[in-house]
């Protein structure tokens, strides 16, 4: 609000006015701030941001933002703020200013606020970043705990219930053989008991499969994806096609686990919430990233906030340097897309 007042009172260069106002913002040590012009060059940065980037404040004016602390992937978000005049938010992974040696990396959330001149045109952007490392650690702790819980349930089902069901089937077989030998009634029922136990084993195996993290199965990421599609068809009675490349992608184990979990959550949403009957999973490589599309014919939700599990899958994607989006609807198929870097970068 103060910025608007100052702008309205001044006839001078709005960016200079902004810089003057931003000075007040820039003394806040816990906030990384920068003022950039429409050509994405720094006009001014705060001391805290200069510290993070390992430079003096005087180094920045005129330098390209993307080459100093942000990646090309962020360019699209920053550019969008310039093009649309609407505020944007992005999250990146950077060294925290409080830890110079050794460097400790943390998550920063950036608000990108467009600044408008008297004509209403965007004349610059104000970047304000705050440290969300603790929050992200807590979030990832919650996700990890949930994944661990699922894994334990999956293991329990696989290692215990499956054996008991197999034992029941064998006992039923023994009963059938004994009844038959003694020419007693009930062989048919004993036989049915065996069949039911065998069916229960098949169902339990599919449920356990759905609960296992991908790394437990050892069949490779693509095999697990195919298996997930098969299980989806079997468990939910919907069509689930999968298209994958011939060769196994070079995913880090943590990526494989998270991507698998994300696809699983998307499928659960598609079937249980959106009522989809046709699903298609497509995984491919596109230059420096892996892309996964899950297309479905169910209901589209304009607000991602109401999509069950969307926040968790977004966090999971971010935790491995990726992103999730959802598009389509109103007469067209809905497509969930996930982008994941071919290698996780832990360095800004």
């Amino acid at each position: 609000m103060a910025i608007v007042t100052k702008r309205q009172q001044s006839d001078s260069d709005p960016l200079e006015d902004m810089a003057w106002l931003a000075e007040r913002l820039f003394v806040e040590p816990s906030l990384l701030s920068a003022l950039i012009d429409p050509a994405l060059r720094y006009v001014r940065v705060s001391r805290s941001l200069a510290d993070v980037l390992g430079r003096e404040v005087t180094y920045f004016p005129g330098k390209n933002v993307i080459k100093n602390g942000f990646t090309a992937r962020h360019r699209t978000v920053i550019q969008k703020a310039l093009d649309t005049g609407q505020a944007q938010v992005l999250t990146n992974w950077a060294a925290t200013p409080r830890d110079k040696e050794p460097k400790i990396y943390g998550y920063w959330q950036w608000s990108i606020v467009p600044l408008h001149n008297k004509e209403g045109l965007v004349c610059g952007l104000l970047l304000a970043g705050h440290d969300i490392t603790e929050r992200r650690l807590l979030e990832s702790g919650v996700i990890e705990a949930a994944a661990r819980e699922r894994r334990e349930v999956g293991l329990e089902i696989r290692d215990n219930i499956g054996q008991i069901l197999a034992a029941i089937a064998m006992k039923a077989k023994i009963l059938e053989l004994k009844l038959r030998e003694q020419k007693l009634a009930g062989t048919e029922e004993a036989r049915e008991l065996q069949d039911l136990a065998a069916e229960a084993i098949t169902t339990h195996r599919r449920i356990a499969h759905m609960l296992y993290p991908a790394d437990l199965e050892g069949g490779g990421f693509l095999a697990n994806l195919r298996s997930l599609a098969e299980d989806t068809t079997q468990l939910y009675g919907v069509s689930c096609q999968v298209t994958v490349p011939d060769h196994e992608p070079d995913l880090e184990p943590v990526q494989a686990v998270h991507i698998h979990a994300i696809v699983k959550m998307i499928i659960e949403h598609c079937v249980n919430q959106a009522g989809a009957e046709d699903l298609a999973i497509e995984f491919f490589t596109e230059s420096e990233q892996y892309v996964i599309n899950v297309t479905h014919n169910g209901k589209a939700y304009k607000r991602t906030g109401v999509i069950k599990g969307y926040r968790i899958m977004t966090f999971q994607a971010h935790s491995i340097g990726g992103a999730i989006s959802v598009q389509g609807g109103t007469g067209q198929s809905v497509v969930f897309t996930g982008w994941f870097p071919r290698k996780i970068h832990h360095d800004p």
Partner: protein
């Protein structure tokens, strides 16, 4: 129950699974066969390897869960008795698991949902020098490869 061959001495089978209930049921099922008897029960591979040294043990039935990262499925499964045939009880119908099993020299693979129906036929086939693979495990494998596997002509394959 089950045929007894004249003059055929009782053949001893080793059972390896960490699950007590499953072990008891396997034992009961095998002991119904008059020419077969459970000659040893082990909860894990270490224990099983100790028992496998018994020359009278003609076959081992091993739970796939007995194999771990520390004790992977590899050839020979029982170095103390390398020629003793092994039947693997498996839960998953994963092709990779079947490939690994055959590469390790396993002679039979039976899924747990088919144990009641297929275990005894599998034991008999394997004791007769043949391979036995559960029908479900062979689904999706090209007919030519399937025939080669069952004939024992291959321990691994490339589709």
């Amino acid at each position: 129950m089950g045929g007894t061959s004249q003059g055929d001495p009782t053949r001893r089978v080793l059972i390896v699974t960490g699950h007590h209930t499953l072990r008891v049921s396997l034992k009961d099922l095998i002991n119904l066969e008059s020419d077969l008897t459970v000659g040893g029960e082990a909860e894990n591979l270490t224990e099983a390897r100790r028992l496998s040294g018994d020359d009278h043990m003609v076959l081992a039935i091993v739970d796939h869960l007995a194999f771990t990262d520390r004790e992977p499925l590899r050839k020979p499964v029982f170095p103390e008795n390398p020629h003793m045939p092994v039947i693997l009880m498996t839960l998953d119908n994963e092709l990779d698991q079947l490939k690994r099993a055959l590469a390790a020299g396993v002679r039979g693979c039976v899924t747990k949902q088919d144990l009641a129906e297929e275990l005894i036929p599998a034991v008999r086939n394997v004791l007769n020098g043949q391979r036995y693979i559960s029908r479900e495990l062979l689904v999706g494998i090209p007919a030519r490869v399937r025939a080669a596997i069952l004939d024992g002509e291959t321990t691994e394959w490339n589709e």
